[in-house]
């Protein structure tokens, strides 16, 4: 037997209080001269055994009543059949409801969330009178006690959202509630579609929270309501990239859309574009389950920013059919070149010029600390790798969404940035120099052009290169495997290392066909830094954003920015709120995989009724209250005077005189 409040057991010596009071009472006797001693002695002899037994029973009752009171206050838990028999209903049932967008997938005429609510209400109904029912939803993770199981479907906390779920965090919230409220036996019912991106099965938080649940005095049971059935045809859309770029005197939006489907058949689907409230429709020819769709949206002469969205036709899940975006005003993106070599700096400066033909700013490395990078989107560094405050400045720049590209300084050094560094320079031995045959043409600065033309990287000659050391993501490599262009992500930004220089003794990069598009693409990518505040994932808004007043722009209906995707305005600022990207990932876990996460805890599906009783512990305080009352009643009966109120009259014995008859 274990106890929820074991420190109360420190008061167990209090059970001796009745004995001490009894002994003190006996010590407080008063002397009384007595004549009829023979009867007293005889009565004492005769009544001793019976009286002693009675006295002992009274004391025993009092001691046990105090002991039962203390045990009751300590909230005992009994295991095995005893605990199960005495506490068949859990003290608390914590419902973990997945309200993520993926739960709105329809199967059999209703969404998974609606099915979950229905099943949870049915299962919880029988425990309404005996158990506390606590709801923790994935969107707020705030525990709320439910009085009536049937009211689950009507609660605002169970409505659909465009958020993602974080199962380990929800389990942590359940654990915190159990600890704070000192709940007894508890069951945690989890209703989810087992989406892997929501469960985070590889997250280290699982081990800690499951271990903590297993370490509770009261054993916790887990019940899973798995809704990972195969669904009907469904497609989701999300905006992968969005950039505003100039096209002559006009502007256009370059959008990269990812469309995920659960059917691999080729199909042409209509896609509705809403741009600043104007709707237009186009068709997308889809192939395979995952399709990347590039679109250019003509903005005309529009200079200011705006908003829009892409929508797919209705399918199994209505909440993943729309992706919202906000684009900024037409501003010139600016690059900064850090180089001490004039020729190199000039080439880079020109290659990274803005669309308004403004060449990039060139500064020496020593001035980077004081350089104004607020309106800069690309930083080109051709100097020994920075250290100290300079390195921190670059780190901060990249973390905020900026792009940094390093070109070889020409000398090897021990310094590193983003885990990468420069090795020894190498000169090509062959006449034709180093060659690049393969590179990533799908995405990144070396991707194919809009016309699906490859960059002439294979025709570029490299006579000299400098090795890129450290862990890296290689986008382009030489024939011998050495990296030409490597990338690392830092925060919201990217860091690139390019192994050669646009100088004649290094390579033919300076000719431009590769260097210019590469740097222009990086300039555009770095522009995210200036536009990043315009996008947010639903349910992941910062506290600063949440503190503002937001009005829905895309709908006349009042929407809650915390739970619903859309475009919102607060003052002059527009914000596009979309489902978290992970919410569109179709990967779900199977039942066994989900159960393995709860190692050490009894896990059953909601439909299964019987647990292995040996593993369970029930709170049995009611037994001790009952026992305490029983002992108190017993004590009361034992101390009752037996026919004391009317002593047996002595035959012939006169009654006490009335007051007026008493002698003077």
């Amino acid at each position: 037997m274990t106890f929820l409040q074991p420190f109360v057991l420190l008061g167990l010596p209090l059970v001796l209080v009745p004995v001490i009071i009894h002994l003190l009472n006996r010590l407080r006797h008063r002397p009384k001269p007595w004549a009829a001693m023979r009867f007293l002695l005889s009565a004492t002899r005769s009544a001793t055994s019976h009286a002693k037994l009675r006295q002992f029973l009274i004391l025993l009752c009092r001691v046990l009543a105090v002991a039962m009171l203390l045990l009751f206050l300590a909230r005992p838990l009994a295991g095995g059949w005893l605990g199960w028999a005495l506490s068949p209903a859990p003290d608390a049932i914590v419902l973990l409801l997945d309200r993520s967008a993926s739960m709105e997938t329809q199967t059999g005429g209703s969404t998974k969330r609606e099915q979950a609510l229905k099943l949870l209400a049915q299962a919880a109904r029988q425990y309404e009178e005996t158990s506390h029912i606590i709801l923790i939803d994935s969107a707020t993770r705030i525990p709320q006690e439910i009085a009536k199981a049937d009211s689950l479907a009507q609660l605002s906390l169970t409505r659909p959202t465009d958020t993602a779920a974080d199962l380990p965090a929800m389990l942590r919230a359940a654990f915190d509630w159990l600890v704070e409220n000192r709940a007894g036996t508890a069951e945690i019912w989890i209703a989810s579609d087992d989406q892997r991106s929501n469960w985070w099965p590889d997250d280290p938080r699982w081990k800690s929270v499951v271990a903590q649940l297993g370490g509770l005095s009261q054993k916790v049971r887990i019940r899973l309501l798995e809704l990972n059935q195969t669904t009907e045809a469904n497609a989701s859309i999300e905006i992968k990239e969005l950039a505003r770029r100039p096209r002559g005197v006009q502007g256009e939006l370059q959008v990269v859309l990812d469309i995920q489907r659960n059917r691999a058949t080729a199909a042409t689907v209509p896609v509705v574009l809403t741009l600043d409230g104007q709707r237009s429709e186009t068709e997308a020819a889809l192939e395979g389950e995952s399709y990347r769709w590039r679109r250019k949206i003509d903005l005309g002469a529009r200079r200011e920013g705006g908003w829009g969205g892409f929508s797919l036709p209705s399918d199994a899940n209505l909440r993943d059919n729309t992706a919202w975006f906000v684009y900024g005003a037409d501003i010139a993106l600016r690059a900064t070149v850090v180089s001490a070599e004039r020729e190199v700096a000039r080439d880079l400066q020109l290659a990274a010029a803005s669309h308004k033909a403004e060449p990039a700013q060139v500064i020496p490395a020593a001035e980077i600390t004081n350089a104004g990078l607020d309106d800069c989107s690309l930083l080109i560094w051709q100097a020994p790798l920075p250290e100290g405050a300079d390195a921190d400045r670059l780190q901060s720049f990249a973390s905020e969404g900026g792009v940094v590209i390093f070109f070889p300084p020409g000398q090897a050094g021990p310094r590193q940035f983003a885990g990468m560094g420069w090795g020894e320079p190498q000169n090509a031995e062959a006449q034709e120099g180093f060659r690049i045959l393969r590179w990533n043409e799908d995405e990144g600065p070396l991707a194919k052009s809009d016309e699906h033309l490859s960059l002439p990287l294979a025709q570029t000659t490299f006579a000299r290169r400098q090795a890129i050391v450290g862990p890296k993501n290689v986008l382009a490599a030489f024939e011998d495997g050495a990296a030409f262009l490597a990338r690392q992500n830092i925060g919201k930004g990217e860091v690139y290392f390019c192994a050669s220089l646009p100088q004649a003794d290094w390579s033919s990069l300076g000719e431009g066909p590769v260097l210019v598009p590469m740097l222009q693409r990086l300039l555009l990518a770095g522009g995210r830094r200036l536009q990043q505040a315009s996008f947010a994932a639903c349910g992941e808004l910062s506290s600063l954003d949440l503190a503002r007043q937001w009005v829905s722009v895309d709908s006349t209906r009042q929407k809650d920015i915390r739970f619903e995707a859309g475009v919102y305005r607060s003052g002059d600022r527009l914000l596009a709120v979309n489902r978290p990207l992970a919410e569109d990932e179709p990967d779900v876990m199977d039942s066994d995989e989900a159960r393995k996460l709860f190692v050490g805890l009894p896990v059953q599906t909601l439909e299964e009724r019987k647990f292995d009783v040996g593993q369970l512990q029930g709170e049995v305080w009611r037994v001790f209250v009952f026992a305490m009352l029983l002992f108190l009643i017993g004590e009361g009966i034992l101390i009752l005077p037996a026919r004391r109120t009317a002593p047996r009259p002595v035959r012939g014995a006169p009654s006490p005189p009335r007051r007026e008859e008493q002698p003077a």
Partner: protein, 301 residues
């Protein structure tokens, strides 16, 4: 110590003086008096006729009967003599107990003093025996009213202490006093019941009229205590600590059993038994005692 006669209350005496202490059976006195004698003699009270037998005094022949019947009959009259009364006071330590001042002993002295006064006033002799642990103070009965002073002084000096010597005193009394007498015993009778009843039987066997006043205190009858008490024996150094509530039932059972046996023994041996609780008015106790006795004598053949 109280003065002589301090146990008397003049107002009580005035109210009781019209009553007489009568013996239930014939007494053998030395002088004529109010009480029947077992002997026939000259008196104004006709008793019976009986046949003449040689040797009888011919002066007691009833000649008128002889003239009518030609047979000799003697006319006999009731002899009336005085009463000799022994008051036996139990002076054991237990008589000190009581909620009233002086305890049961004072109550007993008041009873005895009043009865002795009435006895002397009606011309009968009264004596006193104070039964103590090892000895007994005895004052022989006298008719002289001045004898009351001696008796009262003896009552004054008597203190309750030690074990009871009542049984010895009563047996001694039964052995020594051959002539019929009224023996009045005032005690709580906290002694062995069988020897006590033997005493009563002994006295009755000697033709004594025996009346006993059984003095009890209300606390002894009710035994109402709510806390542990150390009871100290008044006749010895014995003491016990007990929880009265735990033994009360058994105590009362045994006490009442004793009272029933005592009353039954008294009834068996013709002893005039009166249970007296010390919170009762002693005047009423004595009045009832005297009236009942007078009524009994008056209605007896």
């Amino acid at each position: 110590m109280a003065e002589s006669g301090a146990w008397l209350d003049s107002q009580v005496l005035n109210r009781l003086m019209h009553l007489t202490l009568m013996a239930r059976s014939p007494m053998e006195g030395s002088v004529s008096g109010l009480h029947k004698s077992p002997h026939r003699g000259s008196s104004v009270e006709f008793a019976e006729y009986r046949n003449y037998v040689p040797g009888d005094d011919i002066r007691r022949l009833d000649w008128r009967v002889f003239a009518r019947t030609d047979r000799f009959f003697l006319k006999e009259y009731e002899a009336e003599t005085n009463l000799r009364c022994y008051f036996v006071l139990d002076a054991s330590g237990s008589m000190r107990f009581g909620q009233s001042p002086g305890g049961k002993l004072s109550y007993a002295k008041r009873l005895i003093a009043t009865l002795a006064y009435i006895t002397a006033h009606q011309g009968d002799a009264s004596g006193l025996i104070c039964a103590m642990a090892k000895s007994a103070l005895e004052i022989p009965p006298r008719r002289n009213p001045a004898h009351l002073k001696v008796l009262f002084e003896a009552l004054d000096k008597t203190e309750a202490r030690g074990e009871t010597g009542l049984i010895t005193a009563l047996h001694d009394l039964a052995e020594r006093v051959r002539r019929r007498a009224l023996v009045v015993v005032v005690s709580d009778f906290f002694c062995d019941l069988e020897p006590l009843l033997n005493c009563f039987q002994h006295l009755r066997f000697q033709k004594h009229d025996l009346a006993i006043f059984h003095l009890l205190d209300r606390a002894e009858l009710d035994f109402q205590f709510d806390r542990p008490v150390r009871f100290v024996d008044l006749e010895s150094s014995l003491s016990i600590v007990t929880e009265p509530s735990s033994i009360r039932d058994e105590y009362l059972r045994q006490f009442h059993l004793f009272l029933e046996h005592l009353r039954g023994g008294c009834h068996e041996f013709g002893v005039d038994y009166r249970q007296v609780v010390t919170d009762q008015d002693y005047e009423r106790i004595l009045a009832d005692f005297l009236i009942e006795r007078a009524h009994l004598v008056a209605t007896s053949p």
